[in-house]
Amino acid sequence: MRVMVPHGRHRSPRKRKDMKRIVWTSALLKAALLTWALVTLVASVGPARAWEQAPIVRNCTWCHGTSAQGYTVAPRLAGQRPLYITSQIRSFREHTRDNPLSKQYMWSAVAALGPDVARDLAAYFATIPPRPANDGDQALAARGRAIYMEGIPEANVAACYACHGPNAEGIREIPRLGGLSRFYLRARLQQWGQGYHSVAGSPMPVVARSLAPDEIEELTSYLSFVR
């Protein structure tokens, strides 16, 4: 694996300012490179291939894995709803998505991404066929599916299905959950329960607080196998 370098830790404000300038300069450079890469590669090998090679996409796949299929803490982006990706990029930029790893990696990673580039990246990742992580516990999957489809009315757990769809495919700005890694899904649910935020108006903190730890294991196990 590639080592992820944390940005912006233990730096003086001035250094941070310099860093910002560097980030912006490098962003401009990247934009120029990206344009160049697109112009040359679109002509020769078609748009998908061009994006794969674009430096800005490589900056994402560095952590989000080959073909954007996700890697440990960094979720799969392949097949994700483009409106969800752009909404999350915005929430990283505006520092509303505030769990520790988002702070550490994503806040700086998207600092120089304009809305147009964010939209293009989201559209690109959405076209990559997603592969399921399959890292759940098979023995828990059946109960996880029951929670997903029906919720647990007695315990005020809403049916995930009502918002995320029959096959956990998501819609609009509601994310696809099917096939995301159990590791990532569990972390998100735990973080909402601990009071971290994603986007304003999200019902997920309420949902997460209603789930018991073993139910999170069951639910995330099920989802990791969904194709």
Binding site: A146, G151, E154, Y161, A162, P166, I171, I174, P203, S210
Partner: protein, 212 residues
């Protein structure tokens, strides 16, 4: 809404019971069945201000809704007169006193309409709402639902309702409501829903979604 019927299997009661038993150390069961807990539960899907929510399926606005209508519908879900497996399970887990407390609470909420409906046929929608369509045997909606769309007693409030939800209900009325042999109030709407064309349904749905 058709998906809602076909995709959910028969209630896996044992599974649910097991899951509930597994959270013994969690909040006491009295808390989980109480008004505040159930209110949060409703708002999870119906919007944090009960203004409605666009999930994979449109979740209707409950804010300002007529209490008697809400209670009737919850009973219809349980008795399978109105087909919706998710809501049938939800309704089963509500006791009568909680239902009336929730219904009263929702009646007094007044968030702004969620918006998002297409705007091109608002004028047509308003005409249908206020005058009906005589040649198609469609009465004026306002005759029962009120000029302001706030409804009364068992007749629901339509003002501020989600466009997609309204379209779904009016296009699928006969397949979802009034199921089984018992006749209920849903029969009143059946001929009207049947007589409206799709463009007319979209127009009137868009219009009521804008009403405060």
């Amino acid at each position: 809404m058709k998906l809602l019927g076909s995709a959910v299997p028969v209630v896996m009661l044992t599974t649910v019971l097991l899951a509930v038993a597994g959270r013994a150390q969690d909040a006491s069961s009295a808390d989980r069945g109480g008004f505040e807990a159930k209110l949060q539960y409703c708002k999870t899907c119906h919007g944090l201000s009960a203004q409605g929510y666009r999930g994979y399926f449109p979740m209707p606005r409950l804010a300002g809704q007529q209490p008697q209508y809400l209670e009737n519908q919850l009973r219809a879900f349980i008795e399978r007169r109105r087909t919706n497996p998710v809501m049938a399970n939800v309704a089963h887990a509500l006791n009568p006193s909680t239902v009336s407390a929730l219904a009263t609470h929702f009646k007094n909420l007044d968030p702004r309409p969620i918006g998002g409906a297409p705007k091109q046929s608002l004028a047509l929608g308003r005409r249908i709402y206020e005058d009906g369509i005589a040649e198609a045997n469609v009465p004026a909606c306002s005759a029962c639902h009120g000029a302001d769309g706030h409804g009364q007693n068992e007749i629901p409030r339509l003002a501020g309702q989600l466009y997609e939800y309204m379209v779904g209900q009016l296009t699928g009325w006969a397949k979802v409501r009034g199921q089984g042999s018992a006749v209920d109030t849903s029969a009143i709407m059946a001929p009207t829903a049947h007589n409206l064309t799709r463009p007319q349904i979209e127009a009137v749905a868009a219009y009521v979604s804008t009403l405060p």
